[in-house]
């Protein structure tokens, strides 16, 4: 270290004990094995979230969250503001990549059964962040106030409304009234830039603190490997440097996508125009949306749609609670059922997303 830097470091260290912190970070080891690549997806998700915060705040400098001004403010941003189109395009692309990498991260944790004791809380905070990410996507999608977003929001909130008893109040709470109007935009704007980021940051803090404190979970196969043969790599600096290299690659990929496939704005929403063809939810909602289409309208005395929504709700809850019912993995035994279940879910999501996409 340069002498001046060293001086500054010492000055701070004397007061807040940086040495301890660095030791705390350096204590972590990353297991090295066949499936090590998957460890990188958590870090990439973190990186993409940081990008969302930065570009989101930049968008806020010009965005106006009202029925009369939202669309126009984005139009202005894209045509007059220098690099405005780029910032918006990055925010939109990174949102999608973020959900994709978070999904991959979640499945890798699931297949490794890393959620088993003592890491249940890490899994829970992760799942909550994943749901929040979907909330970010759903609320952000409406903000430009264009035709597609307007009708997608109408349909999305109406689906919540078909649930018995609680459905209607939820729908009214989300819409800020009976219909999707400027009131809905105000609410979604508030969720998107204040409520969700606040909650997300707390969850992320707990998630990262736990990963740091408990260290990385070792794969189950390590239990049969003699201690000497378990390969690991120090998190700091070895793994972190690889992480950073990957972040750089992701940033380049993001730049390519944002520049060569700039995000469209479309037409301004008009509550008194017919819905245009091609209304689809964002791809990460597509598999649920597509499934609902295959459920008959009436199943015995139940409404098919209600049944479908409840089914997905229960499935999501069971998925989130897996550390508490997968007692086999908790005991360190192999649980084939979980692996098959995970594979089933992965294939289900992929197949239904593709069908939804091409139909």
């Amino acid at each position: 270290m340069k002498p001046t830097l060293k001086k500054i470091y010492d000055w701070v260290n004397e007061r807040v004990e940086l040495d301890n912190l660095i030791e705390f970070m350096g204590k972590k080891y990353v297991p090295v094995h066949r499936h090590s690549v998957w460890y990188y997806f958590g870090g990439v998700s973190l990186f993409l979230f940081i990008i969302q915060v930065v570009t989101g705040i930049l968008l806020l400098m010009y965005y106006k969250g009202s029925e009369d001004l939202a669309f126009e403010s984005i139009q202005f941003l894209m045509s007059k503001v220098q690099f405005g189109w780029l910032i918006r395009s990055i925010h939109s692309w990174a949102a999608n990549l973020f959900i994709l990498t978070a999904m991959i991260h979640m499945f890798s944790v699931f297949f490794e059964k890393s959620y088993r004791k003592p890491r249940e809380i890490t899994w829970l905070t992760g799942m909550l962040m994943f749901f929040l990410a979907m909330g970010f996507g759903f609320s952000g999608y409406l903000l430009p106030w264009n035709e597609l977003a307007f009708f997608a929001t109408k349909v999305g909130t109406d689906i919540a409304g078909v649930l018995p008893l609680i459905g209607k109040p939820i729908m009214i709470f989300l819409r800020g009234g009976e219909e999707v109007t400027g009131a809905t935009l105000s609410r979604f704007f508030g969720f998107h830039v204040a409520v969700f980021p606040g909650i997300f940051t707390v969850l992320l803090g707990v998630h990262l603190l736990l990963v740091q404190r408990q260290g990385m979970s070792e794969p189950m196969s390590f239990e049969n490997t003699p201690a000497g043969e378990r390969k690991t790599m120090p998190f700091f600096p070895n793994f972190l440097l690889r992480d950073l290299l990957l972040w750089l690659i992701v940033l380049n990929l993001l730049a390519i996508l944002a520049v060569f496939f700039p995000w469209e704005l479309g037409k301004k929403a008009d509550a008194f125009a017919a819905a245009p063809a091609g209304i689809k939810p964002e791809w990460y909602f597509l598999f649920m949306f597509q499934s609902l289409k295959y459920i008959p309208g009436k199943l015995w005395i139940f409404d098919g749609e209600v049944l479908g929504i409840l089914l997905f709700g229960v499935a999501g809850l069971l998925w989130m609670m897996v550390p508490f019912w997968d007692s086999k993995s908790a005991r360190g035994e192999k649980n084939k059922f979980i692996t098959y279940l995970g594979l089933f879910v992965v294939f289900y999501i992929i197949i239904f997303t593709i069908i939804g996409w091409i139909s």
Partner: protein, 151 residues
């Protein structure tokens, strides 16, 4: 026994305090949460109750067409058949709330969101819509066309 006797007044005192404290905590939570919940509930807008809307001159409405009109805060579709007959329906799809349109090529009312179809009588004929579209009354007075709620 004697011990128990000694404890009794203590115990009831403790229970009493617990009830008082717990009760005040609940009451306190209530006074915080109730206003917040009420705040989040959107107030009922005093919307002028629309009962009829003038949509224009009869000669301006093409034959074999469907046009969207604003009826209060909701869209209404006015159909004119090839023979000149007028009909009006709520344009809000009974499936999930999208706005429908008239498709000349099908001779049907069509919802783009999930390919729902209604015939020119507003009856749901294919796709996911569970119910027919609500019908409105069309009144022609001389040259002027009005749409009004069915009573």
């Amino acid at each position: 026994m004697t011990e128990n006797h000694e404890l009794q007044p203590q115990q009831t005192k403790r229970d009493f305090l617990r009830v008082i404290l717990g009760g005040s905590l609940l009451a306190w939570l209530g006074t915080v949460i109730y206003p917040i919940l009420s705040y989040l509930k959107p107030p009922a807008q005093a919307e002028a109750e629309v009962s009829s809307v003038k949509v224009g001159k009869l000669s301006a409405i093409e034959k074999d067409s469907g046009t969207l009109f604003r009826f209060g805060s909701k869209p209404v579709i006015l159909l004119r058949s090839a023979s000149g007959e007028l009909r009006a329906y709520s344009a809000t799809c009974t499936h999930l709330d999208c706005t429908v349109q008239y498709r000349k090529d099908f001779g049907l009312i069509w919802c783009a969101c999930h390919n729902g179809k209604y015939d020119v009588n507003g009856r749901n004929v294919s796709g996911p819509p569970p119910r027919p579209l609500d019908e409105f009354k069309v009144i022609v007075q001389g040259e002027e066309v009005f749409i009004s709620k069915k009573s």
